[in-house]
Amino acid sequence: MSNEHTVKSYEEELQHLTDSVIKMGSLTETQLVDSMDAIIKVDKDSIDKIIKSDEEINKFRSKIDTQIMTLLVKRAPMAIDLRETISSLKISQDLERIGDLSKSNAKKIKPLPLDLPEELLSNLKRLGDLVIKQLNDVIDSYVNKNFDKAKDVWEKDEQVDDLTYIAMESVIEFLSKDKKNLDFSTHLIFATKNLERAGDHITNIAESICYLIKGEYLKGNRPKGKVIQE
């Protein structure tokens, strides 16, 4: 949008809303990275820090909600402004869920042993890295309003599903090796599933961004990779 609103405060309010979403996105990304790191290194000291930083993310959620209510009642936004406002609502919801999933994953580190098999960890890392990259890419596409990048993220969800499948297999293999492993294996299963769910939320965000830019929803079903039956 090359030209600005005639009423400057309207312009500023929309800008503040976008900034809030971006900030919330980057906080969520940091949280995800930290929690992933902690799982791979089985770093039990950073659990509290990660849990605490989730509060920051939730504060942003309320802030964004308030900003949206104000925009709706004051400005009765139309067309692109309306889509911008509603998308911010949806995106912030998805970001909050991703934050919750990261927090949940951090909690699962506590009972883990320090000698998990290399292959399992590396599969998990691969999945985690991809999800982190997806999140990074989707936030990028939001900042630059890049339709193609958002569509890419949406399509890459297939890969996330595939990597989840692989990671899940190694966890199940580890589980079946030794009955002792049952307890923390279930944690690992949930953690893996959480990463897949985070990936879904990121795909939601990508859909919202595409709707925001084009004004219509992406056609067709989401590409789906192999799925473990739940």
């Binding site: 949008m1 030209n3 600005e4 609103h5 005639t6 009423v7 309207y10 009765a76 936004p77 139309m78 067309a79 692109i80 402004d81 309306l82 889509r83 004004g215 219509e216």
Partner: protein, 253 residues
């Protein structure tokens, strides 16, 4: 999909040397409300005044092009303007009831068109028109009082009743609510919702929100040109033209 009631083709309007409308092609559907939006001076009022040939009153105004109502060209010299205005009624921005009684305001139109010969017939026409304009209950006991003694919103509904009294097919409204308070405006919008079941309505409005609320089709004018026209929902959620978007989001000027 409704039928097309009014069709304009290559409509150009000149005030002396100044051109006010440029090649306007616009179809208006039957029994539907079409809103015309655009900044001041963009030609929307000029356009609707072409439909009932009120521009004829202005000496320096010249109209070229076609306007058809039900397939019949209205810009021809043979067409009787008086009978055109019987079919196409108009409500103005500032309520302008005649300085006569409420009854006489409504009965004037039918009388000059030869409808309602007996007093009973006229009484019926007056009551029906006032009922359809949602004004009957408020004025039925004071039909002999002057129309100018009513409140602004009531006066405007009186003008709408007056327009309805001759049984038109089309009602043109030129910013009918701009001089009214929010409650009166709401009553008129409610009325428009009802009226569209019977009449084809074209409304010029400066309020985007009103256009969204009352119309099914919207046309955006700018500097005498029709920039975009389409279903109201589309225009206000996702217009095709950037100028349209800039206008409705307040990025104009």
């Amino acid at each position: 999909m409704s039928d097309i009631k009014i069709k304009s083709k290559n409509l150009n309007v000149y005030y002396g040397n100044k051109q006010a409308l440029f090649d306007v092609n616009l179809d208006l559907n039957e029994k539907e409300v079409t809103a015309l939006i655009g900044p001041s001076g963009c030609g929307k009022s000029t356009f609707i005044r072409c439909i009932n040939r009120m521009n004829d009153v202005i000496d320096i105004c010249k109209v070229t092009g076609n306007i058809e109502i039900d397939g019949i060209e209205i810009n021809s010299k043979e067409l009787d303007v008086v009978s055109l205005r019987e079919r196409v009624g108009m409500v103005f921005q500032k309520p302008n009831p005649f300085p006569k009684s409420i009854y006489d305001n409504i009965s004037y139109g039918p009388k000059i068109h030869g409808k309602g010969e007996s007093k009973n017939e006229l009484d019926e026409i007056v009551e029906n028109s006032l009922r359809k304009a949602a004004l009957w209950e408020e004025v039925k006991d004071r039909l002999n009082e002057p129309g100018t003694g009513l409140s602004g919103g009531q006066q405007q509904r009186l003008c709408i009743a007056r327009a309805i009294s001759v049984n038109p097919e089309v009602i043109l409204m030129d910013e009918p609510c701009s001089a009214l308070d929010p409650i009166a405006t709401a009553k008129i919008e409610e009325l428009i919702d009802e009226l569209k079941k019977t009449y084809t309505i074209v409304i010029v409005t400066h309020s985007m929100a009103q256009a969204v609320r009352v119309s099914q089709k919207t046309g955006f004018f700018h500097l005498g040109k029709l920039i975009e026209v389409g279903k109201t929902e589309k225009i206000f959620k996702n217009p095709d033209n950037k100028m349209t978007q800039d206008y409705i989001t307040g990025r104009f000027g």
